[in-house]
Structures are given as structure tokens and as C-alpha cells.
Amino acid sequence: MERYGTLALGRGAGPRLMASVEQAGLTGRGGAGFPAGRKMRAVAGGARGRAGPAVVVGNGVESEPASGKDAMLLSQSPHLVLDGIAAAAAAVGATEAYLCVDGGRPQRARRLSAAIAERVTAGIGEVPVELVTYPSRYVASEESALVNFLNGGSAIPGYVPPRPFERGVGGRPTLVNNVETLAHIALIARYGPEWFGSVGTPEAPGSALLTISGAVRRPGVYEVALGTRLGDLVALAGGAAEPPQAILAGGYFGGWLPWPGTADVPASGPGLRAAGGALGAGVLVVLPESACGIAETARVFRYLAGQSAGQCGPCQYGLPDISRALDHIAWRGGDERADAWMRDLLPLIPGRGACRFPDGAVGLVASALRVFGADLEHHLRHGPCPRVARAPVLPVPAGGERPATRSREPR
């Protein structure tokens, strides 16, 4: 705070900032990639109605296991995130704000509380921010789940509409933004949209925090210009530590891309989507030749199936069935029937849940079938390949069992 001084957020700053964010072309960095300015405009529009003043929620829960960027940002630049909350609140006319962080990291939460207290002591006169520690489960940080939790309910997604921007915390229009998105909003408030767009590409302006891991020499969080070639990103992370065979782009909601065939693909939402991956929350994992893509995917998918909130049938029952078939193929070689059963079930999942969690999970498997098709064939014909014995590349948190929900026998 001493280093940068406070943001000037006087009268009339709100509409100007909203226009700047729109002009900058900032997209959400939490995974969905929705235009940040349009979201602000929707919240501000709702707040003019009878629903009452808006609420801002900073989402720093970071439930994506292979992502570390939000944790890094909250540890190293807490005031940048808090500046972003203040700026976003001024833009949409919010009178209260929340910063949600992983409840499993008490030390980080204490430091953030201290940062919030510093600002109150300094008397900046900005929107009050309440720090909320939050259960760390995969679907828990979905927008409507955050809102449910802040309203005193469970941290599980709701059936939308109404979306949080229409009726969120306390029934008020609520702006939910990832903490990195908020940091970019703070920087746009300070330096303007032209500065923001001075890096990146016309269709994907600005920079992004990427978490690069797997078979690279220097895994970590890197701030890069959007549109940087994947090959250059691997080089930035110290280069490949072993010969790569694929790269997971977008985390466990993203997709596998074959390597080195996609080294020229630009790391941006549109670029990665066109190649069959995603930017998502900025996760890139390099898979070495020594690993089995089928086994890696099966392990992650089993974790994801266990993360279902258990509210919607296709997710609650469909994901475990697909997981069993994929496990069978990965570790026991499976058979044609397991393969056919899995391929029959995969298209039955997307679009049938209250949230997009099941869609993302089966998208990962679909990308594995494309990229590791020859390996799958090998498993089916000759049994599991020797590479299944390698230590896992993709991290899978322990204790990811499903929370207690409606109990009912599967049919």
C-alpha cells in the first residue's frame, strides 16, 4: 500500500472505470473467460432496480488442483486484489464486498485479514471487505455455489437463473470475479485500457497468470502476454525436463493437446479452444512420454467424479459409471464393452447439470480419447502399458470424497 499509494476513486469514477474495463477487453480469469466489462454492466444495471445496491465477491478459492496463481497473487500482492475489489465496487455501486479464500490455509487467511485491517486503519473510505474462509471442494467455487454459501446455505451450485448478477448475495445483484480478474481491474483503473492492451493480441488483450507444471525444469506461476506460443511458454518454464507427449491446457476443465504438434498454438482463450483445449484458469501441465495419458486421465476423472455435489442425476450417477469404465481400461486393460459403454455415456452428460462441472469433466475424457487414441487401443488389445506404473504427473488431492447429500439407490 505504501509502495503504490491508493487508487483515486472519486465521484463519477464508477461509470468511467466500467467503460475502461469494457474497452480493455478484459475477460474473466477464473475459468469461464466471460467479458469482465459486460458482467459489470449487468450487475450495475440490476442494482439500479429495486433489488438494492450491488455486492462484490472476490473468488480466491482456487479449487483447481494444478493451479497456483491465485494463491501466489493473494500472498504476494494482496493489496492489488483489494484495490480491484474497491475499484469493482465503485464501478457497480456496491456497498459491501467479500473475499473468499481456501479455509484450509489459515496462515494465508490471517495475512489477508491483516491487509484488510491496514486499509481500514489507513481510512481509505472504500467498500468494507469481509474475508470468508471457504471449504475447498471442486464445485464449491462455482459462482452460484459461492453465493449459496454467503447466503448461509451449502457451498453447492444452484439451478440458474436467476444468475448471481441478477439476484445473488442477500438477493442483491452480485459481481463474482476471480481474484486475478480483480487485480487486472485494479491495474486498468490505475493505468488505463491502452496500457492493458499494450501486450497480448487484439482478440485476447492483456496478460495472464499461468501455472506451468509437469515435465518442465522450472514449474511455477508466470505472468505472460496472452497469445504467447505454447512452445515459448515451455521454454519460459525452463524447457522440457523430459521429452513431452502432450500438454493439458486449461486444467481439469480443459483438454489434452498433442505435443509437439501444438507448440505453435497461442495461449489465449480463442487460440486454445480452436486447438481443443482451453485457457480456463491458466493451467498448463506438460505430460512426459514416460507417463500414460489414459491412466493420468482416469485418475483425475475418478477424483472429479468424487467431487460431484450429487445434486443432478447425470453427474451423480453418470460420472462414477464413466470413471469405472475408464479405470478398467487404464489399469486392467478393459475390453471392447467397457470402451463402448464409456463412449455411449459420454455424450449423455453435457448440458444436463445445474452447473457446467459435469460438462468440463467429460470434456477432459473426450480430449484424452482424441489425443491418446493409440494408447487406448493398446490398452484394449494388450492390457495396461508399463507406463501406468509411473508416479502421477497430474496432482489429485486426497480426501476428495463426496459430501453427504440426498441418499437414494442408483437405478
Binding site: 439451478y159 442425476g313 447425470p314 453427474c315 450417477y317 459409471d321 437405478r411
Partner: protein
């Protein structure tokens, strides 16, 4: 106005009544949950669709104007 069928996946409890009453547009997945044919409900099936909506034990099935439906 064109009408579409939508199911609230959280309240749906896989009773399957809808698929019995409107097999033309609704089938059941392997877990007993309804899969709805894409697109608007044809005029000659609107009354059957209404009956299915009314019969749903958890009120999860709805007939809505196409404009309000998602993506």
C-alpha cells in the same frame, strides 16, 4: 409462441413419469433421468407436454417460451 421443455436437474428425482407420458420427446438415460429432444415442442404435442409437466411428482419439468431458455 414456440415452447420448449426444460427440466430442473436438481429437483428431478428420476421418477420417469414424463417419459411415459411423452415418449415422443422424452427418453430416459441409463440412470432413469429424462433426456429431452432438442428444439421446440411441436404444436400437436403441446397438450401432451402440458400433461407431462403437471404429472411430474417433483415439479421439475417445465414448459417455457423458447426465448427464456438457456443456450
Amino acid at each position: 409462441m414456440r415452447r420448449v421443455l426444460r427440466v430442473n436437474p436438481i429437483t428431478c428425482d428420476a421418477h420417469g413419469v414424463c417419459a411415459d407420458l411423452l415418449p415422443e420427446l422424452i427418453s430416459l438415460d441409463p440412470w432413469g433421468y429424462p433426456v429431452i429432444a432438442p428444439g421446440p415442442v411441436p404444436d400437436d404435442l403441446i397438450s401432451h407436454a402440458r400433461r407431462a409437466v403437471t404429472a411430474c411428482p417433483t415439479l421439475a419439468l417445465r414448459l417455457e417460451s423458447e426465448r427464456r431458455s438457456r443456450g
